[in-house]
Symmetry: C2
Subunit: 470 residues, 2 copies
């Protein structure tokens, strides 16, 4: 009997692969997940903490029984600790002991984990936002001890001890968020909604660095307007406290806080391949080709653990995001089932909400990065209306557009505004993946109607300005 | 001395051409406009009637003095009645007589006019929505005689007699809108906002025919929910009334109304070329090439009077819409100034708001039209969320996607929904103009964040389904 297709990791990439595989074939697929949670929306965690999502389990896409109904053999609480590519087996630790599982093909979809840098994350009141248990614990910590509602958890395999410990602690009045990336900005909004006085610390000159300074120039005052104190060019040296966090230390000064959220980075969970000679790429992520194949025979990787090809540079890159994880997993599932399917390039498309401000970015926004990649970047930032000027609700929309002077090709862009701004990044994402030039971009027949867009959409206004400067 | 560049028509295409021309050169440009209004937003008329735009003159983009400041010689009240391509002169009628104006190059940008079919548009209470004077007159008609506020007009060259006559008439209780196209649907919303009981009559089976039946299936119940009585498959035979409209006659029955808005079509204003042998295209529009050149030497045409190349079929088409008029005018201005600039293809991108419902369409949505154009269309309609399912405000979004079975190329699409639905058509517009296949569409790295889009944007969901059926 043939060995099964073995998938390690029960979230976006892993379950997309297993589901697609089972739709295409009746061969067996086994999914090993070291934790208890599977198929959850990582990007929804800030909105649960904020309170705009009622229950933790609302973030689950598929239940274990849904997964079983798809013909997937899901084993939770099963940690793959080693891979032997020669014998094509994985070593699995489970509650009832260790065993070897042979595979025909293997998909490593172990994701990424939040890092904590040099900060003492063992203190009470210090959280990373990674996984449902961390969100549940933070939610419990935010509630006053007499007001925590366990119904918030829904009916899932939550870490009850962590929740109970955090629910028993006094709720915080002031929080430090360390790191002004997506997680930091989303958490600033979430914690403000929970009544906490938020201080956001960003080491470099601007929050949301991948979106470029023009977006940050819209977001930072908006955060301030909503009560968030934004500290840019400010490194947090360390967390202070004994048992529980009591402050952040900045330039030798201690700012008292009772909550610290660390958003200082993520790293790929590559440990199971540490004893193999699987090739690595940027950030140590597992190197994959256009079909998600690693350098090991019959071993694939997909999602936040794997590299991908960048749509603009054509180079190997590591950009862990949700859609591309799902898509790569799905493609590997199809490929292993017998229909070779490219995982697709990544363009680094990302959107983020900061209160009423919507932001998007794609491709190469940073001119230095574009130069490093061999381009001669021309970057312009414009502001244009989101609707016809006379139509109520027209909002200033900022667009940064970057193109290559030599070829005219669109390299990247970023958008910020309050009215349907973020979703407009899809126009640029599509243009970039189609290798359009700026001249071609200026000639796109885009939507125009007073309630939705001015005659010249902000993206087209930016295109005209860049085209004029090439 | 060289003769000037002569432009006929002082709206989108004409003034875009003259403005661009003057930015590129110090040669003279003369713009003849037969009326008094210039540079106004035709697409804003329903929103003025609705009352969401305060003053008629808010719809003006440029004032005559702005235009003069650009170095454009604008002559209002100057009607070009004939063109002599041999002598390169136009004949102009003005208040102080007729004269001949020589030109070096000529741009015909005379736009289009609303048609009235066989309906008696001379009755009081019968309106087309074309031009500021018609909107001003309708606005006056809607106000009770003692409540009309002339401040609504702003300070522009309005037809005062028409306004005064209409303001003096009793305001209507019930309206018939004849034709369920963009204008009909937008006016249904506008008149409802003004407290009028609206009956919308559509000869064919669905409103918004160019958007396809799936969009209409969302819009029609929504219109009904908001109090509009939608009569599909219902032809209005004639308007009844003596002096003032008193009803519409349908299947021999008379439905009493005191207002009728005709949205039964538009036609290109080609009269000034009637005595020339300028080649014509669909609907009698002036045939133009990739640079807006007509078949006559040194004569260009742009905007609603001209044909264009269709981005999907590559064939000559006539789709009068605002952005492409502006863009074609701007391109002709650059070309005449010495920088040959293509006018660009048209994809037929259109978006429309119907109360809370947002709709968009692009390319070939109708399968029969796609077959006629030589394609083998595959069309699928899906419904998917506009946001992550757990995030508040998630709205069902309907997407129709049409592709060619032979090549996989994306041919067209349509969207309807309540949450950022219309603007998503730009993804498809960009994909279509870039000749992407459905497989390529499925691999686009589009925006994902719970407040703005689910992991798989509705456009991607549709792409996956169509790709699976090719």
């Amino acid at each position: 009997m043939a060995h099964p297709f073995v998938v390690v990791g029960g979230d976006a990439a892993g379950l997309s692969a297993a589901s697609k595989f089972r739709r295409e074939t009746d061969r067996d697929v086994v999914v090993f997940e070291r934790g208890q949670w599977v198929s959850y929306a990582h990007c929804g965690l800030p909105y649960f903490v904020e309170g705009s999502v009622d229950r933790l389990t609302d973030l689950l896409s598929l239940s274990p029984s849904d997964i079983a109904d798809r013909g997937i053999d899901l084993r939770r609480g099963h940690e793959v600790v080693a891979v032997d590519p020669r014998s094509r087996t994985v070593t699995v630790d489970a509650a009832d002991g260790r065993f070897e599982q042979p595979y025909s093909e293997l998909l490593v979809a172990t994701g990424a984990s939040a890092t904590t840098g040099d900060f003492d994350a063992t203190l009470d009141g210090v959280f990373t936002i990674h996984g449902l248990d961390s969100a549940a614990a933070l939610d419990a910590y935010l509630a006053p001890p007499d007001a925590y509602d366990p119904a918030r958890l829904g009916d899932g395999p939550v870490d009850d001890d962590a929740v109970a410990n955090n629910a028993a602690l006094d709720s915080p009045d002031r929080a430090a968020i360390v790191g002004g990336g997506y997680v930091g900005v989303e958490m600033a909004e979430a914690l403000t909604a929970r009544g906490v006085d938020v201080h956001l610390f960003q080491r470099s000159g601007h929050v949301l660095q991948p979106f470029g300074p023009a977006v940050a120039d819209r977001v930072e005052p908006h955060l301030a307007e909503r009560g968030v104190t934004v500290h840019t060019d400010t490194a947090v040296d360390r967390l202070a406290g004994d048992g529980r966090v009591e402050g952040v230390v900045v330039d030798g000064d201690r700012i008292p806080v009772e909550l610290a959220v660390l958003g200082v980075g993520v790293r790929p969970n590559t440990a199971i391949l540490d004893d193999t000679d699987a090739a690595r790429g940027p950030n140590g992520a597992i190197r994959t080709d256009a079909y998600g194949r690693t350098s090991l025979p019959a071993v694939y990787a997909a999602g936040d653990v794997a590299t991908a090809r960048h749509a603009v540079t054509g180079r190997e890159t590591w950009i862990p995001l949700g859609l591309t994880a799902n898509r790569a997993g799905r493609a590997v599932g199809a490929t292993v089932a017998g229909t070779p399917t490219p995982v697709g390039d990544v363009a680094g498309t990302a959107v983020v909400k900061a209160f009423d401000m919507e932001c998007g970015r794609v491709g190469l926004v940073d001119e230095a990065a574009a130069t490093d990649a061999g381009f001669d970047p021309v970057s312009e930032t414009i502001t244009a209306g989101s609707r016809s000027g006379y139509y109520p609700g027209n909002e200033e929309t900022t667009v940064t557009l970057v193109a290559d002077r030599t070829t005219g090709r669109v390299l990247g862009g970023a958008i910020a505004g309050r009215d349907r701004a973020a979703i407009r990044i899809d126009t640029l994402a599509t243009a970039i993946e189609a290798d359009l030039t700026v001249a071609e971009l200026t000639r796109l027949d885009l939507a125009y109607a007073p309630p939705f867009s001015p005659v010249w959409d902000p993206v087209l206004v930016a295109a005209k300005v860049v085209a004029g400067n090439l």
